[in-house]
């Protein structure tokens, strides 16, 4: 099992959600987050004076998937969240040791 964590642009959330549902992902967790990447935020102008926006608002999408689905899920997220512009975000994939469905006590792939 793999945990796929994606940081995406907030306005792309609906696209990502729909695309993931299509490839058979059963559930996702979404968090509103803030952060910066290589550009270290950006500047805006207020009455002609610059101010720095240190942390930009992003959406973090997390989903646990089986090994055979992981590659497709990553591809789907990259495709759905891409605008080609700076700040599109990243996808992290990590090994998932265990999953438990709380209601039934099922574990492993059964619980996903």
């Amino acid at each position: 099992m793999q945990l796929v964590t994606a940081i995406i642009k907030p306005f792309k959330l609906d696209d990502v959600r729909d695309a993931l549902a299509e490839v058979g992902v059963n559930g996702i967790t979404v968090t509103e987050v803030k952060g910066f990447g290589r550009q270290k935020g950006h500047t805006e102008l207020y009455r002609g004076a610059e101010y720095i926006v240190d942390f930009l608002p992003k959406i973090k999408v997390e989903t646990a998937v089986t090994d055979d689905l992981a590659e497709r899920v990553v591809e789907t997220i990259v495709q759905a969240a891409s605008t080609g512009k700076i700040g599109d975000g990243k996808v992290f994939v990590s090994k998932l040791e265990e999953v438990v469905r709380i209601r039934t006590g099922e574990t492993g792939a059964q619980a996903i």
Partner: protein
């Protein structure tokens, strides 16, 4: 029958004064909202307190000493309550139906007092977010009780300037107060800001300007609209008479031109900001509308609609560059009051001779210089005395924490987490 017509004229002109005065009073609300919108939320309560208190102080001081200094009569308006119908009818007959207005002196006081409050409101925005509340209110006593009434007596009061020269004789004309009210307020503000210094964090070590965005732009926008509306009373009432055909037409032209200048000012500032910054800066657009209003205040009755629009347009462009220029000079003015009321107020005075043959360019310059020098120097003396005695600026810690807690002991939005 003739006497009844004169009585009716007296009633209409008095009523017109009172309604216009009420409109100008409402501008105090406009200033309160505009200023509270353009400061950070941690200073909201303090700036609102300043605005309501300065209005009350202005009313009291102008009643106590200001009106007498400016127009004569007794302290505390002694004698204003007297009413003599035969005198009213006699002056009406003397002036004639289309002549100078005859109205209740009490209505004149009411109309004048709200102008004083406007001048003082201009100061509060410029010194926002760092000045001690009580120092500001003590200054308001001097400004509304003495400083403003003195320059008012030399202009609208027609008195000689310290017995030396007479501005009216030199060809000075300021219809509703681009100089007398707005430039004067800005001069007092500038003196305060120079002694006070910039807000902490406004200018970086290498001298560049750092933006401190306002907390609530809906309030700033509503405040601007309220000022815009109140300005119809400010300029319209300054015709001083409504109840004959020629003056009624004059009032209508003043309303038209006031509105046209504001509209042109807003569009010009919006386009200028878009050209300079690449985006539509709302706060500059708001300042542009106010600049249009200030510029036309010096003479709203003689320009054509097109001329009024062009004056507003120029003001809207000038105000944006002025605001940026003030920051270059490190004159920190959170709401742009010195640019809107001072720089554009001066511009308004200088544009008067273009449409009004009774004024002269030298007269306008002399008037502007007299008003500015007197108000600036007198204010500087008062601010300096206050700085030496009760202090003028809050502590660095209080400035960081916000003046709401430090000066007033309460927050504007206590149930929200603050993000300073």
């Amino acid at each position: 029958m003739e006497n009844q017509i004169f009585e009716l004229q007296y009633a209409i002109d008095t009523f017109y004064f009172l309604v216009c005065g009420a409109l100008v009073m409402w501008m105090a609300a406009g200033f309160s909202l505009l200023e509270s919108g353009l400061v950070r939320s941690k200073n909201t309560v303090e700036i609102l307190t300043k605005n309501v208190a300065l209005y009350a102080v202005a009313c009291i001081m102008y009643m106590a000493t200001g009106y007498a200094l400016m127009y004569g009569g007794g302290w505390f308006l002694q004698g204003i309550e007297a009413f003599d119908l035969s005198e009213v009818l006699a002056s009406s007959a003397e002036n004639g139906f289309a002549g100078d207005s005859v109205y209740s002196p009490a209505s004149d006081f009411f109309f004048q007092v709200v102008f004083v409050a406007t001048a003082m409101s201009i100061v509060s925005g410029a010194v926002a977010e760092r000045m001690k509340l009580w120092t500001f209110l003590v200054f308001a006593i001097f400004m509304t009780g003495v400083i403003y009434p003195m320059e008012g007596s030399w202009t609208w009061g027609s008195k000689d300037v310290f017995g030396m020269f007479n501005l009216g004789d030199l060809g000075f004309s300021d219809f509703a107060g681009s100089g007398i009210v707005h430039l004067a307020g800005a001069a007092a503000a500038l003196a305060g800001v120079l002694l006070l210094g910039a807000r902490k964090g406004k200018y970086g070590r290498d001298g560049h300007t750092i933006a401190i965005p306002g907390a609530n732009l809906p309030l700033a926008t509503l405040g601007t609209f309220i000022l815009w509306m109140g300005w119809f009373g400010f300029n319209g009432g300054s015709v001083l008479k409504l109840a004959d055909a020629s003056n009624a037409h004059s009032v209508a032209m003043v309303f038209l031109n006031t509105n046209a200048a504001a509209a042109a000012g807003l569009v010009a500032a919006l386009l200028t900001a878009r050209a300079l910054f690449g985006k539509a800066d709302l706060t500059m657009a708001l300042n542009g509308a106010l600049a249009g209003l200030v510029v036309i205040t010096a003479e709203p009755s003689t320009p054509t609609a097109l001329q009024a629009s062009i004056f507003g347009l120029v003001a809207g462009i000038v105000v944006v560059f002025s605001i940026i220029g003030m920051d270059r000079l490190k004159i920190d003015d959170p709401v742009g009051a010195i640019s809107v009321h001072g720089v554009v107020g001066l511009l308004g005075l200088l544009l008067v001779p273009l449409t009004n043959d009774e004024s002269s360019f030298t007269g306008q310059l002399a008037g502007a210089a007299t008003i500015f020098v007197w108000v600036f120097v007198a204010s500087l003396v008062v601010w300096s005395a206050l700085k030496a005695t009760m202090g003028i600026r809050v502590s660095e810690e209080e400035e960081y924490e916000g003046l709401d807690i430090g000066e007033c002991g309460m927050e504007a939005y206590p149930e929200f987490t603050s993000s300073t």
